[in-house]
């Protein structure tokens, strides 16, 4: 614990923090999600909050938002002890929350979205939108909403929706805005704009609690950073003590070091899978690639470049408009994911909770569902061999070091990293020829990320062909032998060996695809 470490900034601010949390604890069922966290936030401070998945960040935020009630501990706002109780009360107390999944209604205008859930001025009993627009316009201008207030939000970018959420917080006169992974789905230039707004908010006295896995952002924005680990606040770093190694150390607890780039050292085998001018409107516009046994092939590019859509074509989740594929030299045109699985593919989809997992079901169920042929007694006795399923699950839990009480624990209770391991582990029992992983470490803590990377490399070394899609800047250079960069539905560059670097991937991502079509080997 380094609570009470030297504080930066101005002594007045520190004297009267806006928010003080002391030894806040919360259990769900038998799981102690928060064992005791403390932090305080001064007015106008940009306070970072980091921690592995399952460290208790989400629970803490839910308590601040009045969605959960702490079992123990104390919360003070403006020096007064408060029981927040309900989301309405949290708003009254001056707190606003911008979650990863942004709150907005697609059918409404910008102004209506800004005023969502905010008490509105009325005239003769009717909502006085004119007066409201007059009040909101300066605030909208200040955060840089460029769309007219009476325009629909349909078609606005994620960044603009984010600005609408900020604007809503300001209209409610928020004094603390909690931002959960704000840059997760933003492009780099949009993120820069967001940082400028955060600094502007801070300068005007609005405090920000900034939660992110991206340590560079935390380091450049925050004056103080609290680190949660295993439901406790284990460190508060500021000033000289606030640097990347110290943060990593505090998050991981000294257990796991940064991974080394080991790409380009594996022996790559024959071509396992090939795609020729694969297309499906509007996102995939003629992609050709070869995937070799024993390699980790990365697909880089911006969000919306068509990478996920390409993975879905390869896996039979969508049918291509044109183009063809081969698998082990034979024509391959899967009519469904089931056909792709039979042919020897596995897909770990982008959204693990929505697309991969059965949250209320056990780990054993989630692993078994892709291996039903292995847990049947046999063709003539169509009963499930439950002990085979349990032992298969136990084996996977051990070999992937999934942290869970037993194979019967519901997957919904696991942390993000452990959930992801279940989504991956499902396929490993089948030893697929091709494993496709879409954003394998999104929202996963550093420790689990390193373990998942090690796992992916192991599979490639054992001869599997692995395709990894990632938007995490450092992930592909860390992991891949070869990287294809996609932009606007096409592959615009191939990077191999030492040419694979974060810089090269980012550069290629922003290049006009037409300019590079000739360079790319067909």
């Amino acid at each position: 614990m380094t609570r009470g470490a030297p504080q930066p900034g101005n002594a007045d601010e520190m004297a009267t923090p806006f928010l003080v949390a002391r030894d806040v604890a919360k259990a769900f069922g038998g799981t102690q999600a928060l064992k005791g966290v403390s932090l305080d936030i001064a007015p106008g401070e940009i306070h970072g909050l980091v921690g592995a998945n399952g460290a208790g960040k989400s629970t803490f935020i839910r308590i601040l938002a009045g969605l959960n009630h702490p079992d123990a501990g104390r919360l003070e706002l403006d020096g007064h002890s408060q029981e927040i109780g309900t989301p309405q009360r949290a708003t009254e107390l001056g707190m606003s929350f911008i979650h990863q999944e942004l709150a907005f209604v697609p059918g409404m205008t910008v102004l209506q979205n800004i005023m969502l859930g905010v008490p509105k001025k009325t005239r003769f009993g009717l909502t006085d939108w004119r007066a409201i627009a007059r009040d909101v316009t300066p605030i909208a201008r200040r955060v840089g909403i460029s769309a007219p207030l009476n325009a629909g939000v349909k078609g606005l970018s994620t960044a603009e929706i984010w600005l609408i959420n900020i604007c809503r917080a300001l209209v409610r006169k928020a004094r603390l805005i909690v931002m959960d992974e704000p840059t997760a789905s933003l492009a780099a230039s949009e993120a820069e704009r967001l940082f400028a707004i955060v600094r502007d908010l801070s300068a005007s006295g609005v405090a920000v609690l900034y939660i992110s896995h991206r340590l560079d952002e935390i380091l450049s924005l925050c004056t103080r950073v609290s680190v949660f680990r295993d439901g406790r606040s284990v460190a508060e770093l500021a000033g000289d003590a606030l640097n990347r190694p110290a943060l990593v150390e505090a998050i991981v607890g000294g257990a796991i070091r940064d991974t080394q780039r080991t790409g380009a050292t594996r022996q790559r085998g024959d071509v396992v899978m090939e795609a020729k001018t694969l297309a499906r409107a509007p996102n995939v516009r003629g992609v050709s690639l070869q995937l070799h046994a024993g390699e980790v092939l990365g697909i880089g590019g911006l969000v919306g470049a068509g990478r996920t859509e390409l993975a879905r074509l390869l896996f039979g989740a969508d049918r291509p408009d044109s183009g063809e594929m081969t698998l082990m030299g034979r024509p391959y045109a899967p009519a469904s994911p089931a056909a792709a699985v039979r042919a020897g593919l596995g897909l770990v989809p982008e959204e693990r909770r929505a697309e991969a997992l059965f949250l209320s079901k056990s780990i054993a169920f989630n692993l078994g569902i892709a291996n039903l042929d292995k847990i049947a007694f046999g063709r003539y006795l169509p009963l499930m061999n439950r002990s085979a399923r349990t032992s298969m699950a136990g084996e996977t839990i051990r070999s992937l070091s999934i942290k869970a009480r037993s194979a019967s624990t519901p997957v919904g209770r696991l942390s993000g990293g452990n959930q992801q391991k279940v989504a991956i582990g499902r396929w490993l029992q089948r030893t697929p020829k091709v494993l496709i992983l879409d954003e394998p470490t999104r929202g996963v803590d550093i420790g689990a990320r390193a373990e998942i990377h090690r796992l992916i490399r192991q599979q490639a070394e054992s001869g599997m062909a692995v395709l990894v899609i990632s938007s995490e800047p450092d992930e592909l250079p860390d992991l891949c032998d070869r990287v294809l960069v996609m932009a606007e539905g096409r592959i615009v560059r191939e990077l191999t060996g030492q040419a694979v670097s974060r810089k090269a991937i980012v550069e290629a991502s922003y290049v006009e695809p037409e300019a590079l079509m000739e360079d790319h080997p067909a």
Binding site: H69, A338, P349, K361, F365, I369, P382
Partner: protein
């Protein structure tokens, strides 16, 4: 989360545990409490082997059709055609036996096959034509009602029903246990085995739990949904057959009310043991609650209307308590 849940804050861990237990075991506790209460109030009439057998015998048809419906809701769809289908099946089997003089086993096979076909049609409309299952099965059910009236010309088939046909439901072919009960045990036991203990059952549960994830895990979602409808249709056929045998006649709309009873049983069941998930065992418990509730009221001579009031009230209270209990226990 409801406002009621929000206002009831700060529960002690003990209270939370109790609520969690109530959410899962509330229906079973309620069933036992009801049986005990009726037994105390009416020791001579209620807690007798004869009465219990009678209740089970009466309830078996509803349990069979509810068991089938469970499969449709487990795969995430609704089947509103079952009551209407069962009515048609009842008329049809009577007609096949009385007018066409078909051997009873053959008639049974034909009618159950027709039940499967109706399920197939429902499943096809829902999965391939992509019509919402409420609309699709309501439409199919309405058509079936029309067919039932067409087949019977609106007149019940009463005369000339052979004794052997009546024995289908009135007989006690095994150890003196009524055939209806045997059929119910075989069907529900079979469905429980299918859902809980077979690889196919894992796919069924997966489709109901998260259809997108099931598809990406290699499950053929459409095929499983169609299977759910087919099983639901076959169970409706069996209920229709046994009802016609019990009534000794084929009457259009005789089985229509089974739709409501089946839904009540299935949703009561979803509040049993598991958190809001549909399952065969739960449906059994739900059907028992309704059956014993009706029987108890009958014994006390309560008017018919009160039985419907009771059925509706129990359903809302049980499902409501379970969902409130869960949300409070989570806080």
């Amino acid at each position: 989360m409801s406002d009621v849940a929000i206002s009831a804050r700060r529960l002690s861990p003990g209270a939370k545990a109790a609520l969690g237990i109530f959410a899962r075991y509330g229906t079973i506790i309620g069933l036992l409490a009801m049986v005990v209460t009726f037994s105390i109030l009416s020791p001579a009439a209620f807690p007798t082997l004869g009465n219990f057998t009678n209740v089970l015998n009466q309830a078996s048809l509803a349990m069979i059709i509810a068991g089938g419906l469970t499969l449709a809701v487990v795969v995430g769809e609704l089947d509103l055609s079952i009551g209407f289908a069962a009515s048609l099946h009842g008329i049809l089997i009577t007609g096949l036996v009385v007018h066409d003089k078909l051997p009873i086993p053959l008639a049974v096979v034909i009618v159950i096959a027709l039940g499967a076909v109706i399920g197939l049609v429902n499943g096809f409309i829902v999965t391939k034509v992509k019509v919402n299952s409420v609309i699709a099965t309501l439409g199919v059910g309405t058509i079936l009602t029309g067919l039932a009236f067409a087949y019977s010309a609106g007149v019940p088939i009463v005369a000339g029903v052979p004794e052997a046909f009546l024995q289908l439901s009135l007989g006690r072919w095994l150890f003196g246990i009524p055939n209806n009960i045997i059929a119910m045990i075989v069907v529900l036991g079979g469905l429980w085995l299918l859902v809980e203990r077979t690889p196919l059952g894992q796919e069924i549960q997966a489709v109901g739990g998260n259809a997108v994830a099931a598809r990406l895990a290699g499950v053929n979602v459409d095929r499983i949904k169609i299977l759910g409808f087919v099983i639901s249709g076959m169970c409706a056929a069996l209920t229709g057959i046994l009802l016609a045998s019990r009534l000794g006649s084929g009457t259009a709309s005789a089985a229509d009310s089974y739709l409501l009873t089946a839904f009540a049983a299935v949703f009561l069941g979803s509040a049993t043991l598991r958190d809001g998930e549909f399952h065969v065992l739960g449906t059994l418990v739900g059907a028992l609650i309704i059956a014993f509730g009706f029987n108890g009221l009958n014994i006390f001579g309560a008017p018919t209307f009160s039985q419907y009031v009771l059925q509706g009230a129990i359903l809302i209270i049980a499902v409501g308590m379970a969902s409130l209990g869960r949300s409070l226990a989570e806080r």
